[in-house]
Each structure stands twice: as structure tokens, then as C-alpha cells.
Subunit: 577 residues, 2 copies
Amino acid sequence: MDKLSPDQIVRLLLAVAALLATGRILGELVRKFGQPSVLGEMLAGIVLGPTVLGAFAPDAMEFLFPMKGNVPVALDALTTVAISLFLLVAGMEVDLSMMFRQGRVAVCVGLGSMLVPFALGFGVFYAGPAMAGIDNERALVFAMFMATALSISALPVIAKTLLDLGMYRSDIGMLIVAVSIFNDLVGWIVFALVLSMMPGQQVHRFEVGETVLLTLGFALVMLTLGRWLIHKSLPFLQAHLSWPGGVLGFALSITLVGAAFTEWIGVHAIFGAFLVGVALGDSQHLRERTRTTIDQFVSFVFAPLFFASIGLRVNFVADFDWQLVLVVFALACAGKILGSGISAKLMGMPARQSWAVGFGLNARGAMEIILGLLALNAGLIDNRMFVALVVMALGTSMLAGPAMQWLLQLKKPRRFTAYVGARSFIAELKATDRFKAILELVPVSGAVGLDFNKISDAVFERERVIPTGLGNGIALPHARIKGLAAPQVAMGLSRQGIDFDSPDGELAHIILVILTPEEDQTTALALYRDILSTFKDRAFREKVMRVKSYTELLALMASSTGAHPGEATVISPAPAR
Amino acid sequence: MDKLSPDQIVRLLLAVAALLATGRILGELVRKFGQPSVLGEMLAGIVLGPTVLGAFAPDAMEFLFPMKGNVPVALDALTTVAISLFLLVAGMEVDLSMMFRQGRVAVCVGLGSMLVPFALGFGVFYAGPAMAGIDNERALVFAMFMATALSISALPVIAKTLLDLGMYRSDIGMLIVAVSIFNDLVGWIVFALVLSMMPGQQVHRFEVGETVLLTLGFALVMLTLGRWLIHKSLPFLQAHLSWPGGVLGFALSITLVGAAFTEWIGVHAIFGAFLVGVALGDSQHLRERTRTTIDQFVSFVFAPLFFASIGLRVNFVADFDWQLVLVVFALACAGKILGSGISAKLMGMPARQSWAVGFGLNARGAMEIILGLLALNAGLIDNRMFVALVVMALGTSMLAGPAMQWLLQLKKPRRFTAYVGARSFIAELKATDRFKAILELVPVSGAVGLDFNKISDAVFERERVIPTGLGNGIALPHARIKGLAAPQVAMGLSRQGIDFDSPDGELAHIILVILTPEEDQTTALALYRDILSTFKDRAFREKVMRVKSYTELLALMASSTGAHPGEATVISPAPAR
């Protein structure tokens, strides 16, 4: 059998390592600014590809990512499997029952949010296809593609944004999610149809009409019979096969078969993977841990690999066309925001909420990029248009959160760790009574420019009126301080325990001094709630007591709560079913 | 960039799906007979490869697994990444601190268990290399390889076997694990040296001496400085990066870089992956859930893919040489069992335990197969010898469990589910009091050929003497029955609850009637313990109450306890640290 030479293996392993590591690093970096990590992952490809590395060190790029031979083929194989699994996960997040529950409103807003941008896109690009350098023969298919590209929404980005804003379970949040599920499903089917109608596809197994029928038929079968069969067989598989290997193997096998089938009929493999994901994820018999295992590995390994590999193909500087970028961006926003906003308004929503729905659905995210890439590979669009679509996808995704926050006048919940830094954390308090503990913590709290004695006195006074031991080994001495600019928190641990006169009689081991500005009436309460819920679990508190530094504390909290607040990855935790 | 055509993508996706699905199905099948799933996964490759499919439907095999072109290259890329990740996991199970704790005894038995088979193998194969059809020029390296192949042990198989026998935490279990860690580590380094000494390797970057030095140097650096650096950086990564993506990306990136490095210096990629795994797995800062995510995905997706792909390369019927198989098998067992057994005896162990140690360490498992494959690829051995090594690896692994069980006269713990079948489970009891519940359950218990009334009377009698409500909603009415051939258990659920006079005053919702033969004094107690520990968790009991059929019950138990008892996968759960 043909195989890779040792030299090719070295290059392949280094190439994958470079994509993963750079993607991770830049993904984390953009995350710090509250941006979706897909942005960082694509930046990694741009850095390693022709745009940056190729421009400054073409030899290094040619070594890692040669254009010819076995290495690019091997990399293509890996990214093809990666994108198929990514679409499996994306499909698993499509919750059909949730869409049906929202019913009429979801469908109406969904139709509005798709038809308006579709009509707008079709009009503009059927009238002026020459602008994008496309010959007239393909004008219809090109216009159909652009119309589809403008009218899809990205469920994962939207779900994640809503989670970040704490709006996922609100009425408006549920509506937006339901609409984007509808959009996702319809959008992919329409896109598959566009692909199947393309003249000059490499597969000539079927006539265009046959491919269209096969595509629709496959979608129909998977969403009905396939979904039912999977739902019925999962309990059997989970009962009789090893766990979670049996279900994992089953899920991946049918995904690959579905992907192979759609690739075979002439639309792309990922369409099949997506539909299998929808059918699979909809079954309540799929256990949460199987879901999580697939989700984590795909989101953090396969997805970054795929998105980083995109940047290798295109030079994002040379092919950046300002005019085209602006036109595409403006059309995308106008069509989607107006279409969704007006339909929401017509369904009786207040104005601000209607526009928030519009901006939410405006997020294109990873789906748009994948769509664009397939069109690029199929020769339907050129590099300039691809770059414009990528910029539009990222731009609309980054806009969604801030716009919704502003329209709905939300305050993002802040966690107490946002106020505790390395310098305001004492891993081992020396104090033996509560007043000494307060004296030890107040100076590190970060209340600059104020007299520590006065602050301590204020805290003492509160403490004398109502002792602040809250039980469970937690004490939260606090005071509102005149002249304090922003809330300050200092945290200390005491292994021996300090008596804060708590209702359950236990000594306090976790002590946080909370200082808030005199006029701020809400932050202290929010911090209270956050701290109590963070430390409500006894086993977790015991782990906290073994922490020796601020870094270890953060590490413990990050791994125990599953995620930092404000984290922004493309794939959200699967919506609760 | 060169890439796969749509037709090639179809074939690749189908090929991977076929390997995964067949591997899973056959893996589950052999598991039912208590055999390691690697056996089934390799059988999948044999079925899909030249041995079976190629013999009966050569066209189908040529379609799925063509010998030339991009598809085999793509498959080779996937399996190379798969095997590297598999070795990462294998390395992560090497617990250096555990090895050091066992100290002198582990090292002495370890040396004995390696030196004897090594000497034996080297003697036989240096004397008679012609037997294996090897020309004399390579005689030394070939003999070195065979000696190494006979002297390694497979930590994952051994750990799994010990877990199955319930011996993992016993003194002898810990000793065997420590010795096999030592064996694993030394064996791989020796094998890397053998590879680096090979004349005619494709890489001529370095002289043989340089490669040897680089290999040893890399191993030394990874086990000291690398291990320390990883240990120090993990808390930082877990604190500041998203979770578990940050650590996952970090782990995989350094694994691939390590793999690329060892491939570059002329030994195989997997050696680097293994050493990174050792360095990474040894850090207590690697959280259990990160470990589990890597472990599950690799064990159930990548490992089956790799092992199944092995069968594609060789015709296991045509290249099966009885004589060679017998010679290799006999040499392997003789060297290993004698070497380990005698050293254990010399260290003061009783005879039966010493031989049990010998049979335990005799298991070669997956490691031997990987070693053989690399030697085959490097042209060091031929197909016949490869087949003999594979048979030896599987045979010694299958022998280890039964031999140890017999030598130590262990009884494998059986779980209560082994006695409850679909027919002896009532999802919704009609009974309203305990005697009616017993009357309802006894007839389904499976006590054939006996008078149900007599049995019920016996259970009633016990029940009157001591009520069998045990608290937590569990009741276990029971009796020893004259003439009963084997223990019988019937299980029923009652949503409304039945009063079994339990000490905590709660009604019983989970009721199991346990009938044991009159002469059997131990089974009932073992079942008691198993049932109580199975249902000790309130949240789990609540889930049980929602079960509607026996299949659902099994599914729930399988996913909650993490594994069926008696499950045999190659990769064991990571040893507790």
C-alpha cells in the first residue's frame, strides 16, 4: 500500500502540531477580548499561511505546508474528517423538539429572517454577477449561492452569545435559538440544493434533477425514519455494548457513512454529517457524557485544525477587496436585521427586542465560512469573494453580543474572581480571630488612596452588628466605603479556621472581605450570591483548602465549573434538552 | 494544494467507517467472551483485508482499500496520527512514582523478567536467523529485535486483567503493575535503540551512533526536564486557558512535536509520543476529566482504527506458519514466565504467587503488535514472522487472566445483574404489601422445577423473623432453598413503595428476591454488598425509578458505573494516582 515516507510523516506531524498550537494560542488570545475562538483559529491559519509566513519565510511555509505531494493530501484527509465531525456536533445541537415548541412565531420569524436577505442577495447578485468576476453561464447558481450565504445564521455562535449574556433561557433567547435552528436546517438544505445544481461539478454520476431529488430525499429520510431508528436503537446499544465505546463507535460510523453518501450524490460530505448529527442529537437516549466526549474532542481538536487550515489556502491581504467586503457586509446586515427585526415586530414584539432578535440572528459564524470554502473549492466564487464572506461571518458574529447587550440594556454578570487578583489573595491567613483576619485582608484589597484603618473600622462596625459567618465555613465581612471608586475584594484561606459566629457553628475557612462604593447598592449582593453558589459543594471547598497559590485557585475553579465566565468558543455547551 | 477528489473522499470515509464499525462489532463480540477488544479490532482488519474480503471479493476490497494513490496515503496519515495518540495514552498510564514506591523488588523482578527472555531470544535468533528468512547482514539487529519483542510486557492489558480479577490494589497486583511499568519503559527505549541501529533505514540524516545518542538523550530529557516543565506549566495553563481546550491542545501539540522529533532522528514517531505521554501522565496537575476525554476518544476511535488497519496489510491465512508460530509462542512464554517467576521467587514470594506474576507479565497485548508492525515496515521481519508475533501477543494476553485466576484460586466477583434477566425483572410491581411483592417476584425468579409455593413460604418465614427493608428504599427478601441448582434473583420496582419495615422508615421501591442453594453460604452476601453499593446514591435510585424496561435498566447501569463488569478493552481506566 502507498504510504507516507518518514520525512513526510515528520512534516505532517509538525504541520498538525503548528496548526493546533497556534490555533489554541490565538484562540485564547481573542477569547480574552470576549471574541469567539474561531476568529483566533482562523488567524492561526493566516499567520502560518501565505498571508504572513508565506510572505516573510516562504521556505518555512513550503516545508510545513507543501503545495504538492503526499503531505497536502494527508492534511486534506485529516481536515475532511475534522470538518465532518464538526458538522456532526453542529447537527447534534439542532434541537427539533425545541423548534416545534416555539411553533408559529419561530417559523414566521424564521421565514422572514431568511426570505428577506435571500431576496436581497438574489436581486443584487443576479443583477450584477460581473462585479464578482463570474461569467454569465453560472450567474443563476452564483446568485443562488450568495442569496443562501446571506440568509443563513450560525446556531452555535448564537447559542454561545446568549449563554454569555445570561439570556439563553429567557423567552427572547429561546425564540432566537428556535429561529436559528430553523434557519440552520433550511439553510443547509438550500445550500445542498445549490451545490447539487452546480454545472461542471466533478461528479457526473447523476443529472442535476436527480441530485436535487436525492438530496431532498436523504434529508427527509434522515429527519424522519433515520431519526426514529437511531432513537430506537440507542438504548439497545447502550445496554449491550461497552460504554461509551459502543455509542461512540456507532455515532462516528453512521456519520461517516452519511457523509460518504452525500459526497457520492454530488453535494458535500458535511451535509450528510450534519443531518446524522441532527438525527442523533435529537434522541433523548444519547447520554450527556457521550455528548460531552464527542463535543470536547471535536471542538478543541478537530475544529481548530479545520479552521486553521482555511487560512493556508488564501492570502487574506492580497485578496482583500475593500469595496467587495463593504458591499457584502452591508447587504448581509441589512437583509438579516431588517428581515428578522420586522417579522419579530409584526409578531407583536416590542421594538428593542425585535432588533435584538435581528442582531442575534445576524451572526454567521463558522457556518458561513464553511459554506464559503465549499463554494470556493467548487469554483463558484473566487478568493476575493471568499475573503469578503469570511470577514462578514466574523464581523456579524462579533457584533451580535454587544448589539444585543446594548439594545436590551443588559449588564453582564461579573464573578467575584474578577475582583480578586494574585495580590489580593492570601493562601494562609495568620489571623486567629475575625478582627485580625479583617486587618490582614483589608490592606491587600486594592482600595488605593484610602485610609486602611478607616476601612477596617467600617468593616468591624458591620461585623459587630451582624456577624458575617454564613455557615459552610464561609465568612464574608463587608462594608460600603465612602470615596471608593470600584468594588474591591480580598480573599484569604485559613486551615485552622476562624470563628465568625456562623449559624451552623462551624469555623470559617474561606474568608472574603467585600468593599463596595457607598452609592453601589447591587454589586455586594451579586458577589454574595456568586460566592455562596461557587462554594456550596463540600468536596469543592475541601479542594479549595488545599490550594497554595492564586494560580492554583484559578485552575481549580476553571476545571470545576467547566468554563470561565465570558469564555467564547464556537461550540456552545449542548443546549439543555 | 493537492487534495482528495470527491471520489477519493467517498472511498476514504467509507473505508474509515468500515474499519470503525467492523472493529466495534467484533470488539464487542470478543468482549462477551471476556477477551480483550484489541482481538476483535484486529479481526475486523483481517475480515476487511486480503485474508477474507480480498479472497472472496477482491473488487470490494480494492474499492475500499486501494493499494495505490491518494486513498492509502490518506488512510496512512489517519492511522499514523491514531497510533501516536494511542501511544500518548499508553505513556500516560506509566506511573513513575508508583514504580519508585515498589522500589527494589520491582526493579529486581523487572530485570529478571526482561533479561531472561532477552537472552533466550538473542541466543536462539542470533544462532538461527536463517530460519526466519533473514540474510546474515542484518542478523545482529534482527536478533536484537526478536530478543526485545520477547521481553516486553503490555502494561494496559495487564492493568485491565488485574482490574477484572479485582486484584489491582492487592500487594501482588501493585507489584505486577510496577514491574510492567518498568518493562514498558525499558522495552520501548531498547526497541528505539534497535530501530536506530538498523542498517538501511530510509533516514540518513545521522550516523547510527548519533541516532543512538539522540534517542537516549531525548528519553533522558523527557523523563527529567520535560516531565518537570510539564508539571510546572499545567497549573498555569489550567488557570488561564479555556477548559479543557487549553490543556487538550497543549497535550496534543507537544505529543505531535515529540513524535515528529523521534521520527526525524530516525526512530519511529510513536516513541516520542509515548515519552511525552509518560511525562504528561505523571503530573498530578493533569485533571481526571482531561485524562478521561483523551482516553475515551483515543481508546474507542483512534485505537480501533489503527488496529483494524493492521489486518489490511497482511494475509493472516497465507502467512500463517505453524512451526514459526509455535516456536515464537513457546520461546515467549518460557522466557517470560521463567524469568519473572524465578526472580519473584528469589525475592521471597510464595511459589503460586511467583508463577502468577510470571503469567501476568507474560501478556504482550497491543505493544507487541505495534512493535512487530514497525519491524515489518522497516523490513526487519517478514510477513510470516509478523503473523507469528501477532498470534503470540494475543495468545499470551488471553492466557494471563485465566492462568492467574487458577494459580491464585480467585473467584471472579459476579454482579447481581448476572442473575437478573429480562424475564426476572418487573418494571412496575402491582403488589401493595411485602408478602404480595414476594409472591409476584418468586415465580419470575427462574427457579425451575421447584414448587413456587414452597419457595415463597421459605422467603416469608425469613421475612417474619427479620424484615428485609434495608433503608434507602431497598428491600432484599431472601432464602436458601433446598434443591436449587444455582442462585436466582428477581427484581421489581414499585413507584408507590412497599413497606418492608426498614430502619429508616422509608418505603421500599427497589425490591430484589434472592434465592440461593442451601449449601451456598457466600453468594447471597456478595450479592447483598453489590446491590447496596450499586444503589447507594440517591440520584441514581431516582433514575432507576424512571426505568421502564430491563434494557433501560442495563443502559442506565452501564452508563452510570462507567463500565460493565468483565469488560475487556486494551486501555484500562488510568490507574488511580
